[in-house]
């Protein structure tokens, strides 16, 4: 029986065999380190430092930024709003996108056109969508008020972006409008990947449409569903452009979510340390969420 070569020996062999390839990979690794590792490391170091108003860390090794953040009276409201925004928009997206994908998975005249039209909001940059909707929602000059008053639904113009409730709902609406197409198209791709013969077999067994949906479609779509919702929730947590352009988190921080609030902390109020601390918290929460979610997904697959 031959002894397995040691790790160093294998490393030397590997190096001798593929030396040029490793040298050529150096720029990519450096790029990865500079553009990904460095910003994350910088964020973490700054979060644990005293930071002056020009964003220079002056002293490393303090929890003060996290303590200040914990004492910030607005934080509970920001956390509530962030969760409502992230989970709320994704829930609404799923409710709209899944039936939409089911419809698009059937054959009807104009199906290709419907798919193309569906993609328009998603193809639009978030900033463009948000600016367009900001004008539609404008209290005095917006077309929504004009339309609603013309058809007699409202008598007085509604300032959609001026009241906390309507402003938050409007921001969620724009987020959903911009993102639902991606979810629907991904669901559609998942539906088209289901082998048709299992439906044929189910039909032969006498299954009805509801049973087909419940026992065939839903289990087959579970993985797609899990991945799409995970990605969408992470994107919604990180969402910035829609709220910033529509309301800037106003009035009274009632439409702020974590991403917009940390920007305010850092760049408007010059509490850079607290801004970085909130970034670290968001980073940790999203990482934990992703890990738990993928573990759950793995567990379900194994079951």
């Amino acid at each position: 029986m031959l002894a397995r070569p040691g790790f160093l020996h294998r490393l030397r062999e590997e190096w001798a065999e593929n030396q040029l390839a490793y040298w050529l990979l150096v720029p990519s690794i450096l790029g990865f380190a500079i553009f990904l590792v460095f910003p994350i490391a910088n964020m973490i170091v700054t979060a644990f430092s005293d930071v002056d108003i020009m964003a220079h860390p002056t002293h490393f090794g303090t929890f003060q930024n996290f303590i200040d953040l914990a004492h910030d009276e607005r934080m509970p409201m920001i956390i509530r709003q962030t969760c409502l925004y992230a989970f709320g928009t994704v829930l609404i997206e799923v409710i709209i996108a899944f039936p939409l994908a089911l419809i698009l998975n059937t054959h009807f005249p104009g199906r290709s056109l419907a798919k193309a039209l569906l993609l328009i909001p998603w193809a639009m940059p978030y900033a463009v969508s948000a600016i367009t909707w900001k004008w539609i929602f404008h209290g005095q000059m917006g077309s929504l008020n004009y339309l609603l008053s013309e058809v007699g639904i409202i008598k007085d113009y509604v300032v959609w972006l001026g009241n906390p409730g309507t402003a938050f709902a409007a921001a969620m609406f724009v987020e959903v409008w911009s993102s639902v197409a991606f979810m629907a198209i991904t669901f559609l791709a998942g539906l088209q990947g289901i082998p048709p013969h299992i439906y044929d077999a189910a039909k032969m067994d006498g299954a009805g449409a509801w049973q087909e949906f419940r026992d065939m479609t839903v289990p087959q779509m579970r993985n797609v569903f899990m991945i799409v919702t995970l990605l969408s929730i992470i994107w919604a947590f990180r969402s910035f452009a829609v709220i910033w352009i529509l309301t800037k988190g106003d009035p009274i921080f009632r439409t702020d979510i974590a991403a917009t609030y940390l920007y305010k902390l850092a760049f408007e109020f010059r509490h850079f340390g607290q801004g970085f601390a909130l970034s670290v918290c968001l980073f940790v929460v999203l990482t934990l969420f992703s890990v738990i979610y993928t573990r759950l997904l793995g567990a379900q697959e194994g079951a």
Binding site: I53, Q140, G162, F253, R270
Partner: protein, 445 residues
């Protein structure tokens, strides 16, 4: 076996990755576009003009070409330096400068709000200009403008934009209702009630920020202490005058209902001015740039200009301005050449052009008297003269000592107004809470 046949072995994977990375290596080794060839660098470098960078905030759509013309003229006027202009939008400007300064990449000169001047100066990131500009040169400027940029006896910014305010009102509507030009808060309320007919026309434009300041100074009157801080640094916003000021605005918003809807998030430039220009608002307090905008966007509008209204008829009318500055970065390695650029930008001819282009009040005394600026045949001259006169008594919002938490303190006031106008708190309660929040932030409680 299947895997071995179809899968990518580690060796092949490395080959693919290496081939993909090769262009990066080549790109990294290549000279950057526009870089001189290595053989020509030596001797030419010592004679090359110094390159200056000017980061300019965008006031309007003409800012870029107008400023570029000045920079081109400067580049032609001498050979010691060339200046590169970078125009950026106001909303991103402060953060862009902050990022560049923090990263040791500050532009040589940049313009911005007087508040930024104080913030950057407190972090020792602006260069003192007194010696670089010289007393003789600075004597050409209004003292109020120079004082606004002076911290601890040293000048840290050239006043770029002095913007006292006034009350614009529609003379056709006032004549129709038999109303006189508004002078007091009572006049404003009476006129707004008589004219307001929403959504066709709103009586009086109300918002946070500037609009709180107009009411605040109107409650106190010119000749008195207009600072929102007491001598020992406590906030005065919940004082008797502070409550009266916000009560005036609140009466218009909630009692009379003569303002435009949702004043808590009304923006002067994107909400209120367009309403006035669209002839959907009878009265609006705004700045000296408005007659120029009206002459372009609503030339047939019948309007006039009055001093900012006061609480009582026997008070003197105050004014207020938010000065902008052109600053020199302390990081600049070519301060002499940057000072030459500043002197060029601030010569009488260029400042006259700037004032005419932007419709702002010149900070140079001689430009304010220049016949080209106060041309008797120009219908806007009367407004220019009005503002030049107002400048003499205008209060500088960024009057030192300006707290490092200035932006956050203003947000406390804005939020108090939102609480009041959303009907969540009374005027006294909201302002008391906001004052307490500010004092706590200043560690005064």
């Amino acid at each position: 076996m299947q895997n071995q046949k179809n899968g990518l072995s580690r060796r092949n994977f490395l080959k693919v990755m290496a081939m993909a990375s090769a262009p990066l290596v080549l790109a990294a080794c290549a000279a950057p576009a526009g870089a001189p060839a290595s053989g020509t660098q030596g001797g030419a470098a010592s004679q090359a003009p110094v390159e200056l960078r000017f980061v300019a905030m965008d006031y309007d759509s003409r800012m870029q070409p107008d400023t570029q013309a000045v920079m081109d003229a400067f580049n032609k006027s001498q050979t010691a330096s060339t200046v590169k202009l970078e125009v950026v939008g106001w909303p991103d400007g402060r953060n862009l400068l902050l990022t560049q300064i923090s990263g040791g990449q500050a532009p040589d000169i940049f313009n911005g709000s007087g508040q930024w001047c104080l913030e950057f100066t407190s972090a020792k990131e602006t260069a003192p200009l007194d010696d670089l500009m010289g007393k003789e040169f600075l004597d050409n400027f209004w003292e109020s403008g120079i004082k606004a940029m002076t911290v601890d006896g040293k000048l840290y910014g050239m006043p770029y934009f002095l913007d006292p305010r006034g009350l614009y009102y529609r003379t056709d509507l006032f004549t129709e209702k038999g109303l006189k030009a508004p002078e007091t808060w009572a006049d404003v309320r009476e006129a707004a009630k008589a004219i307001s007919n929403p959504p066709d026309i709103y009586g009086f434009g109300v918002g946070p920020d500037d609009y709180w300041w107009y009411a605040w100074i109107g409650a106190i009157g010119a000749g008195n202490d207009l600072a929102p801080w007491t001598q020992d640094g406590h906030s005065r916003i919940a004082s008797e005058e502070g409550i009266a000021a916000v009560q005036f605005l609140t009466d218009i918003v909630l009692t009379d209902k003569t303002s435009q809807p949702s004043p808590q998030n009304a923006n002067r430039d994107s909400d209120l001015q367009p309403l006035f220009l669209g002839k959907k608002m009878a009265m609006l307090e705004t700045g000296s740039w408005m007659p120029t905008i009206i002459s372009h966007d609503a030339p047939d509008m019948q309007y006039d200009l009055a001093q900012l209204p006061v609480a009582k008829a026997d008070m003197k009318h105050p004014n207020v301005f938010w000065p902008d500055a052109v600053m020199m970065a302390n990081q600049s390695k070519q301060k002499e050449q940057a000072a030459d650029l500043l002197k060029f930008m601030f010569n009488a001819e260029n400042r006259l052009q700037f004032a005419l282009q932007r419709g702002v009040i010149p900070e140079r005394i001689d430009v304010g008297k220049d016949p080209k600026y106060v041309d008797p045949n120009d219908p806007l001259t009367k407004y220019k003269e009005f503002y030049v006169k107002e400048l003499a008594t205008a209060h500088n919002v960024f009057q030192t000592p300006w707290p490092a938490t200035g932006s956050e303190d203003q947000t406390s006031v804005t939020n108090a107004l939102a609480h009041i106008w959303l009907g969540e708190m009374s005027v006294a309660d909201a302002l008391t809470a906001a004052a307490k929040e500010i004092d706590t932030r200043h560690k005064l409680t």
